[in-house]
């Protein structure tokens, strides 16, 4: 009986129904060549498993257990919500466009000077709520008072270099809202995108940033998905080009509406 490689693999992977399994077993019993092929696939599977088994017995790194215990939870499932925060929208990669957009001095300075940590800052449960840079509201993550004030008042062109929160770029989003990127030292260092809706700044993306290794050229693969989370959010939502200084000032005067 002819037994294909696919059948043998499916057999070894436990994917055959009883009848197909019996066929293979019969072939194994009567044809040493087929028996060898099955044995080879079994051996590969077993070797692979054992090659990676060590990790199961290693002590768990504490920071992973801590992340599972303490990282913030979002329980709402409406569209614009916390659960969307870290989702990188993978539809449009458009790498060249991204590269060009992020050549703005403001952002490239950020990108070059931070090493990005974990996706979300673990400060939500650490700081008293009135001091927290953001809080949950109606299933959204909104900027806290201090961050909101910076987002409302500050202009990228005039803000002090040592401001607690620095605004990056401002732009119109697909939903018609004004959105702004920011970096803040609050909460241990955060970067994100906030969009103005009604009375709040809703956080659309948020990343942890640390100034520690700034400028040393060190590269940490650790949170490198972070700038992507922020940049892809902008990339996804931006309509046209970012606001220039005059348009930014005009938007600020109109209360970001």
């Amino acid at each position: 009986m002819m037994i294909s490689d696919e059948q043998i693999m499916a057999y070894v992977d436990g994917e055959l129904d009883a009848r197909a399994r019996a066929d293979v077993e019969q072939a194994v019993a009567s044809d040493p060549e087929i028996a060898r092929r099955v044995a080879r696939q079994r051996a590969l599977r077993e070797k692979l498993r054992s090659a990676f088994d060590d990790v199961l017995n290693e002590a768990l790194p504490e920071h992973l257990v801590a992340a599972a215990r303490n990282a913030p939870v979002a329980s709402v499932s409406e569209r614009r919500n916390v659960a969307d925060l870290a989702q990188v929208r993978d539809k449009k990669a458009a790498p060249e466009r991204v590269a060009r957009r992020w050549s703005w001095p403001e952002w490239s300075a950020i990108a070059a000077s931070v090493v990005l940590g974990a996706i979300i800052a673990n400060l939500m449960w650490r700081s008293p709520s009135d001091l927290a840079p953001f809080s949950a509201k109606d299933g959204r993550l909104v900027a806290g008072a201090t961050l909101a004030e910076a987002l409302t008042q500050q202009l990228a062109s005039t803000q002090p270099a040592d401001a607690l929160t620095r605004i990056g770029v401002s732009f119109r989003s697909r939903s018609g809202d004004y959105c702004r990127t920011f970096v803040t030292r609050a909460g241990g260092g955060l970067a994100g995108v906030a969009c103005h809706r009604v009375d709040d700044w809703t956080l659309e993306a948020l990343s942890r940033v640390e100034a520690g290794s700034a400028g040393t050229g060190t590269y940490s693969p650790a949170g490198s998905s972070l700038p992507a989370a922020v940049s892809q959010t902008v990339e996804e939502q931006i309509v046209g080009e970012p606001l220039d200084a005059a348009a930014e000032a005009a938007a600020q005067r109109s209360g970001w509406r």
């Binding site: 693999m9 992977d13 994917e15």
Partner: protein, 163 residues
């Protein structure tokens, strides 16, 4: 809700060893692997409200991990920081002294991403074809052909290594 969240957190902690293992099969080095696990755990918690009991938690989290890794690789490409597979492969065996394991891990590291994930899910993690296809968001036929090509490539690389 908080009790449900606590249970969810406990289940995630129980899964950590397997999440770490799958992360190693796809990232090619232990440091990236644990970073990827952390991102996965954080994303999973942020998506808690979207978690439904229909799928097994591990499949759901493997899917989150896969997406996080795709994002990561994309980000690296964007920054021209892609590791050359061969170079990264040297990193893999760092945590084991078993020569066979090192050879296998290095061989796996040289496979294309999509084959590595298919093999990691089915051969290492023991998922069914159906579950693995769902995690990877591809039809079962695509999964099995990736598995077949990956296995052939692995076998060839291992033979080469023995010579």
């Amino acid at each position: 809700m908080s009790r449900a969240v606590d249970l969810f957190r406990d289940e995630i902690i129980e899964l950590l060893p397997r999440l770490r293992r799958f992360a190693r099969t796809i990232t090619r080095n232990p440091h990236d692997a644990d970073d990827l696990v952390q991102v996965t755990v954080e994303r999973a918690l942020l998506k808690f409200g979207q978690w439904k009991d229909e799928a097994r938690l591990e499949s759901w989290m493997f899917g989150i991990m896969r997406n996080a890794w795709i994002d990561e690789v994309r980000a690296r490409v964007r920054r021209d920081r892609v590791f050359a597979p061969a170079e990264a492969g040297e990193n893999v065996g760092a945590h084991t002294s078993d020569q066979d394991a090192i050879a296998l891990q290095s061989a796996l590291a040289r496979l294309p991403e999509e084959q590595r994930m298919a093999i990691g899910l089915v051969l290492v993690e023991g998922l069914s074809y159906k579950e693995a296809a769902e995690v990877l968001d591809v039809p079962i036929g695509t999964l099995t052909s990736r598995l077949a090509r990956g296995r052939e490539a692995l076998a060839a690389l291992l033979l080469e290594g023995e010579r």
